[in-house]
């Protein structure tokens, strides 16, 4: 440090600052405009009979180990509440219907494909992206397996292959991107025998949901789950029971990544705060160096004796 004269200091400080400024890149916000054509799916839990054919079709479509379709008529799996895991991207659960015990409520669980997804905001390498069609998909070539998307997801959807050391995947519903490329419906929608899943543009699907809730207001609770939750989701649900009792998390209407991104962009704001801090510290260093000039001489004396440490 002692070899440094003031001119050098300014030269190098200026270099440091300009390098930092060069490195500035405009952060892209997650609040980009959503396409009007984005997709939506309505789950009418009052129509679903819990045949679980969607689970089977989903596994087939995603090349996951698939039991024979006949095994799916076994209703004992409903005894336990299930969640999607590394082997199944969607599961159906059964809930009691107090008003009519003969007609239990079946609720399908899968990625909600949020309008403002927390996982996309969180992902360290941008391996999760939100497409114009509304789907949130995972990129095998980018993911580093940090599992921050799982921490961020308000619906607890992404799952991880804990048993694999090499090439573990983050798995979740991808809205059958591959099938849709060939003009096919998502596997679950395609197979559903009761048309409990309504697939189309989100606006249209939402309109149908509103009509159904209004027309059968004695049946449905007046709440379309997914219309507003965490800023809206692609998958939406209507049901005859409060969603709190169907193990759907109670969520506010503000987008999930919300404050996190504001803080992040506040701290960085085009790199102004870090550069300012750098300049400020540089100034303090320069001023205090002048003041402690005597001490420097002391140290150099020591060094002349041959053993003193620089820095």
């Amino acid at each position: 440090m002692k070899n440094l004269n003031r001119r050098d200091f300014f030269k190098s400080a200026a270099l440091g600052v300009s390098l930092t400024v060069l490195g500035t890149s405009k952060a892209k916000g997650s609040d980009k405009m959503l396409s009007d054509d984005r997709l939506g799916i309505l789950v009418d839990t009052d129509v679903c009979v819990g045949c679980r054919h969607c689970e089977w079709a989903c596994r087939v479509a995603h090349n996951l180990p698939t039991p024979d379709l006949d095994n799916y008529s076994d209703n004992s799996v409903f005894k336990e509440y299930r969640r999607p895991d590394a082997g199944s991207l969607t599961v159906v659960n059964k809930f009691e219907n107090e008003k009519n015990p003969l007609l239990p409520i079946h609720v399908k669980v899968q990625c909600m494909h949020c309008e403002r997804p927390a996982c996309v905001s969180a992902c360290i390498v941008g391996a999760l992206t939100k497409g114009d069609d509304g789907s949130v998909v995972w990129d095998d070539d980018k993911c580093i397996g940090c599992r921050y998307c799982m921490v961020a997801c308000p619906f607890q959807i992404p799952t991880y292959d804990y048993d694999r050391s090499i090439d573990p995947h983050i798995r979740k519903c991808d809205l059958c991107t591959d099938r849709r490329k060939n003009d096919e419906l998502p596997a679950c929608v395609n197979i559903c025998p009761n048309e409990a899943l309504l697939f189309g543009k989100r606006d249209a699907v939402l309109a149908v949901a509103k009509t159904r809730v209004k027309r059968k207001s004695d049946v449905y609770v007046n709440h379309i789950y997914g219309e507003h939750e965490v800023g809206g989701t692609s998958w939406m649900y209507i049901a005859r029971k409060s969603f709190d009792k169907l193990n759907m998390p109670h969520l506010a209407a503000n987008p999930a990544p919300g404050i996190s991104e504001s803080i992040q962009h506040g701290i960085f704001a085009y790199f102004v705060p870090p550069v300012t801090l750098y300049a400020l510290l540089g100034t303090i260093m320069w001023i205090t160096k002048r003041r402690s000039g005597d001490d420097d001489e002391l140290i150099s004396d020591e060094e002349e004796k041959g053993k003193g440490g620089k820095l």
Binding site: A118, V125, R147, R291
Partner: protein, 400 residues
Amino acid sequence: MIPAPIKYKFITPGVIFLILIALNGLVFLAIRFISGIGAVTNLDNATPWGLWIGVDVAAGVALAAGGFTSAALGHIMHREEYHSIVRPALLTAMLGYTFVAFAVFVDIGRFYFIWHPLIMWNGNSALFEVGICVMIYVTVLYIEFFPMVTEKFIGRVNFPQFLDFLNKPVDMILRYLDSRLSATMFIFIIAGVVLSTLHQSSLGTLMVIAGQKMHPLWQTPILPLLFLLSAISVGFPMVIFESLIASRSFKLKPEMKILSRLGRMIGPILGVYLAFKIGDIFIRETFKYIVIFDTAAWMFIVEMALMMIAFALFLSRKVTRSPLGLFIASSFVIAGVLINRMNNFIIAYNPFYNPVKYFPSFGEISVTIGCIALLVLVYRAIVMYFPVISQEKREIIRKI
């Protein structure tokens, strides 16, 4: 007082104990890389982050804060009297961050893609910011450490016979690097402080996105500020803690003159942290969650009690004047920050569907304490080889 390698025997009963702990950790590390994370940890789809992120990474980064706080004091504010603590603090930071990086490598599923954030950017992600800052900061720390290497070897480069033609060129390279570095070192010193400020706070932003999955006692928009303040609070206590342990272990006289002065600064810093932390509880009215007295509440009470006791201790002159007092008070801060990080990343994380409450497995704990043991061993080896710890001249002579 000048920095010099410490002459002392490397192997002691304590060292053998540490080696055994490290080996035990290595066994579980091997299993993790052969059979996957699930084979060693208790992590599941409901609890994706556990001990390795909460302690190895989050607490590790905080406890390595001594590096940037003492650099700010010694070099940026030019308080020359503190120079003797900068080197050991720098070494701790360098080793600490190396182990943090290693812990990340162990915890991420696709460890072979750890370099991806360098070229695949997501400016919205707090984790990306932490990752990039830590990567640059580790590099800066190695650069800052380099003068200790040149000091050791300049004029003393001595390769074995068949390579001795390298002696002169290597010596010249070292001399050149040394002169360039001492002219530009201030760039790295300031950069180190800026980078630390950034990623220490972003580490707090990390859990903000977990939203209501996180217990309201800890989930607050000022998490980044609290993380930064607590990191600054634990910086000097960590330096004091290590300095006293090193003195005892190597039978040196503790540098009480410097450590006491350092200790007197800790009280006010802790006071600022506690003011924000307690203010946050009252503004968000989360004190109602404390009187529930469940596990989370008790952990919060423990965390706060440790920090408040430390605050009271550091305000007392009697404490800061005695080595034992300083050691105990510093230990309280270190324990407080360690538990705070564990609380934020493990205890506070409670998603709506969580059938199996997470508790770290034997394998996870083994890897964590194994890494810490290894860290201590490497620290010991380095201070015995490089001029890191300042000693009285007669101590050096006596030991030589």
